[in-house]
């Protein structure tokens, strides 16, 4: 079965091709079915492979397809690697991908670009699978850039809207900044180890000097920063909410943005060998987590809140990676995929019901109209906020435990983030589903629960969010932490937890306390006191406005990078190019012409002058020859 791994990405590719060429003619039903079926097929194959893998002793299989790029010693085959890490990601991608495909059939039903949507979605799954399946860094890079492209296409899905297009472009370009780092990292790996195939590289990893390993780790991390929206390359992700909501759920929450985590877990040997790199990853992660959480507290757009929440959670994952808790990060990726996808899909359901209204200030009291959505989203909110025994609780707690072990300051930051998370999640939940309805009458009239194709995925995901924690049940709970054991073959240096169970219980207690504080504050403010976020910017306090404007980071980038780049370009174009360089080139021509005008004046037409100049020449020559 494992030899048929090629089928996994092949199905979505086929779906993509069919939908791409014939989607429009087939009609919506068929097109959506084909797209979903192709992912379902992938999921089934992935599941079978996953099960096969469990039976295998070595837990890693390489499947060679064909040789791709050859240049002397640089040999890059197009080959796939199935091992615990990729198999988990396979399941997440195809599983959640499938649910979201189903959901989209309902969500996108009225859109004229229905077939196009599924074309892109299938292509995305294809690239995402390449990303996690590749047996060397370049195949990962193929998927890496491929998902970037799909992200670009899907963010700008409604291409008539200029702002959406700008958001798409921004996402692509910011990702490319990271990609350059990634690419240079790959090249450095090649020059250091003479190969970029995972197995060979990791085997030889320690033959490289510390500096080089740090450099590799940091360069790869630059790539991860772009893709997984970390400081300073995170600003594209909130803007990416311009895309249809299922896209936000699939790409910008559950799968693509976790590619950075995948990459670092894959290359964990470089990070565990490099103190510096690990610290950088941890600090960047912690800062991102905190900053995004703060911003999330002041947003009014439901999707923006979720977006910042995603950034913040990704930050937590990087924090985990930074402290060497690689399998924990994957655990959190998994649970996060469940509840964040659910949150986005729920938000999509709300938006769907509200006739595309995304502003929470105009929602409220939707519980009655959307009971299933209310329930499932409630579960997700609890999960992400760290309600005890839900999936998020376990994964986040494991992260906090590892951080506690490594660095107390970072632990404080992480806990603070958890507090804020609970606050803004409940803020969102209350503003959306509770209190009174604040929309227009027309919207109220239209309110309806979403169709089955949308609610079923919500329910499935809700179950997963509830039970996801079982994957990594900690020892303190007499679990065996399956995920950590499963991933152990690919983790180079495992530092088994030295924490006593008492400390763990204490940390869990603190986490629960933090959850209660956050949730209660939100309840107090928004439910009890019925405080509403300021209706317009003018009403905000300066600090609030500053946070609302995301610390003005976009403006800052604009002033520091975009505008100077534009300025330089204009200067190059207007002055250097046309005046200086071309001016010089043309100047030569002009000078020749001018000289020509001058020299031709010598030709006076006067015989006397001709004779005179001849004589002058003769005299000069004779003098010269005599003197010589």
């Amino acid at each position: 079965m494992i030899k048929l791994i090629g089928l996994v990405p092949l199905f979505p590719l086929i779906g993509f091709i069919i939908n791409g060429f014939f989607g429009k003619k087939m009609g919506k039903g068929l097109s959506g079915t084909i797209a979903s079926l192709s992912i379902a097929a992938s999921f089934v194959v992935s599941l079978l492979i996953f099960m096969d893998l469990q039976k295998m002793p070595e837990k890693s299989v390489v499947v060679n397809l064909f040789s791709w790029i050859n240049s002397d010693t640089l040999k890059i085959p197009f080959s796939f690697l199935v091992d615990p890490l990729s198999s988990i990601f396979l399941l997440i991608i195809t599983g959640i991908g499938f649910l979201i495909h189903i959901y989209s059939i309902g969500y996108m039903h009225h859109d004229e670009g229905f077939a196009r949507f599924f074309t892109y979605l299938n292509l995305f799954i294809f690239f995402m699978l390449l990303l996690v399946l590749g047996n060397n860094y370049l195949i990962m890079f193929v998927g890496w850039e491929g998902v970037g492209l799909c992200s670009y296409l899907l963010i700008g899905f409604w291409f008539k809207n200029t702002e959406y297009n700008n958001a798409a472009k921004k996402a692509f370009v910011m990702n490319r900044i990271g990609d350059l780092g990634f690419l240079l990292g790959i090249i450095l790996i090649f020059f250091t180890y003479g190969t970029i195939t995972y197995g060979d590289v990791f085997e030889k990893a320690h033959t490289g000097s510390d500096t080089i390993m740090t450099a590799i780790a940091l360069l790869l991390f630059v790539g991860a920063m772009g893709k997984s929206a970390q400081i300073p390359l995170y600003t594209w992700l909130p803007d990416a909410m311009a895309g249809p909501t299922p896209v936000s759920a699939l790409i910008h929450a559950a799968t693509m943005v976790t590619a950075g985590i995948y990459m670092i877990v894959r290359s964990n040997i470089f990070y565990s060998s490099s103190e510096v790199a690990s610290e950088v990853v941890a600090i960047v992660g912690a800062l991102t987590a905190l900053m995004a959480a703060v911003i999330g507290c002041a947003q009014t757009d439901i999707k923006k809140v979720l977006a910042y929440s995603t950034v913040s959670q990704l930050g937590l994952m990087f924090l985990a990676l930074g402290v060497g808790a690689y399998s924990t990060a994957v655990f959190h990726v998994t649970t996060h995929a469940f509840f964040k996808a659910l949150l986005f899909l729920g938000a999509g359901s709300v938006i769907h019901a509200m006739s595309n209204e995304q502003d929470m200030r105009k929602m409220g009291g939707l519980r009655k109209a959307l009971p299933i959505t209310w329930l499932t989203m409630g579960i997700a909110t609890l999960a992400i906020s760290g309600f005890p025994l839900l999936s998020g609780f376990f994964s986040k707690d494991e992260i906090l435990a590892h951080v506690w072990e490594e660095n107390k300051i970072l632990w404080i930051v992480a806990t603070l983030t958890s507090l804020l998370t609970a606050f803004y999640m409940f803020r969102m939940f209350i503003l959306t589903f509770h209190t009174n309805f604040r929309g227009t009458a027309e919207q109220k009239h239209h309110l309806h629960e979403s169709p089955k194709s949308m609610t079923i995925p919500l329910i499935v995901l809700a179950i997963l969010s509830l039970a996801g924690g079982l994957l990594g049940l900690p020892e303190a709970f007499h679990g065996n932490n399956w995920i950590s054991g499963y991933l152990s073959p690919i983790i180079a240096h495992r530092s088994p937890s030295t924490l006593s169970h008492e400390t763990e219980y204490m940390l869990m207690g603190i986490a629960t306390l933090v959850f209660i504080c956050g949730a209660y504050t939100a309840y107090n403010v928004y439910q009890k006191s019925k405080v509403l976020p300021a209706a317009s910017e003018k009403d905000m306090r300066p600090s609030e406005r500053f946070i609302y404007h995301k610390f003005k980071v976009d403006e800052f980038y604009n002033a520091v990078i975009t505008r100077p780049l534009n300025g330089i370009s204009v200067a190059f174009h207007k002055f250097v190019e046309s005046d200086l360089i071309d001016g010089l080139v043309n100047g030569v021509g002009t000078m020749v012409k001018w000289l020509s005008g001058v020299i031709r004046q010598l030709q006076t037409g006067n015989i006397g002058f001709y004779i005179f100049s001849m004589v002058l020449g003769v005299v000069a020559i004779i003098f010269w020859s005599v003197l010589k």
Partner: protein, 487 residues
Amino acid sequence: MLTGLLIVIPLIAALLTFFIKGKAARVAALGFSILEFAVSVFAWYQYKTEPLSKQLYLNCTWIESIGANFSVGLDGMSLLMVLLTTFLVPLIILSSFKNEYDKPNSFYGLILLMQMALIGVFTTNDGFLFYIFWELALIPIYFICLVWGGENRARITFKFFIYTLFGSLFMLVALVFLYQHTGMYTGIKSWAINDLYQAGRSLNASQQGYVFWAVFLAFAIKMPIFPFHTWQPDTYVNAPTQGTMLLSGIMLKMGTFGMIKWLLPVVPLGVANWGSWAMLLSVIGIIYASCIAIVQTDFKRLIAYSSIAHVGLIAAGILAWNQQGIQGALIQMVSHGINVVGLFLVADILFRHTGTREISKLGGIRNVNPWFAVLFLIILLGSVALPLTNGFVGEFLLITGVYGYGAWTAAFAGLTVILGAVYMLRSYQGIMLGESNSVTAGFGTLAPSDKAVLIIVCAAIIAFGVYPQPLTDLAEPAVKNILSSTK
């Protein structure tokens, strides 16, 4: 013999085409160029089965007294370039089917003549013949631009002509200088490439430096490399689309190809002493041209600048002088040729359908013609080197090669990855996305010939991106050969 045939067919075809009146000329030209392509594919087959086959080489005495021979041959590298040429010329001819050109027989005859000269440049193993073909290629394109070009064509094409000629004259002087140093042991002077290599390497460092700069100047102007590029955007914009395609798709490869075959192996000391300066110019050119491309308003001009950036990277890869760099350069030369032909055709289609190439005036064409948008997007992705498009294979190898030269150089050269995305996406958004306006609402459908060319180009982009093996098979051993000969 086959190589000789490859040169003779376009020549005869050109002469015949001159005498065919009216629209039949373009059909005939297309037929001839496809025949030429078939022959080149056969040559490829021959090469695969027997790389040193006599069929691929032709050597007749030409000017005995100066030791110049009509010596042509196909090794992997030349074959790659020849295939590129023979592949693109039919596309270029086909792309012109919607343009009504005055005196079509001359137009197509000149294109075929140009093809002959280009194939000559790529196949010759004789320094003198190389120079002849090099110059010969200039004349048809000059007339194509002069007679069928845009508004300011007289001044602009003239600048182009005199600028490139100026460079090649220096190359001629350098070649003559090398020639005078051949035959140290035999006493017989010769233009054969190996003798020139030997002569060049026997020179002292300062002499090699002079030769390096003189020849580099010629190539740098042709490609063009910053700061010798100012003729290029104007010429590209003003030339008829087919002329631009020839210029950017094939002709600029003369410069990069020349660097690989006729410059770097000849004067290794010169390269060692001065190569870093040339590298500096190439890398500056990448960033500089990309920046300018960002603020272009005319789409054709934007492509022109992007071409400078791409070619800068190719030159940098060549100057890095390692396996990955040169191989990447060769592959990228092919990819760039294919992509840029597609891009210029897009520009031409835009102009034909809307009457303008101003990005700000266009927009929303995707609403009107989604297939065109898709094809354009694929070409664009090839151009920004997205993996699984042909552009990526070359660009990855190039950056790897440059990295072998210097990590920071590679980092700066790699900025093209980012800047390329910036200007390309900006133009795509401006042209294709958004609401359609009065200019673009009546865009209509594509002509079959245009559609055919775009589809072939897109197919090639994806095919070579997914499976670049055919290109690699040709390039890899050739590059190894040339590298081992200089070590």
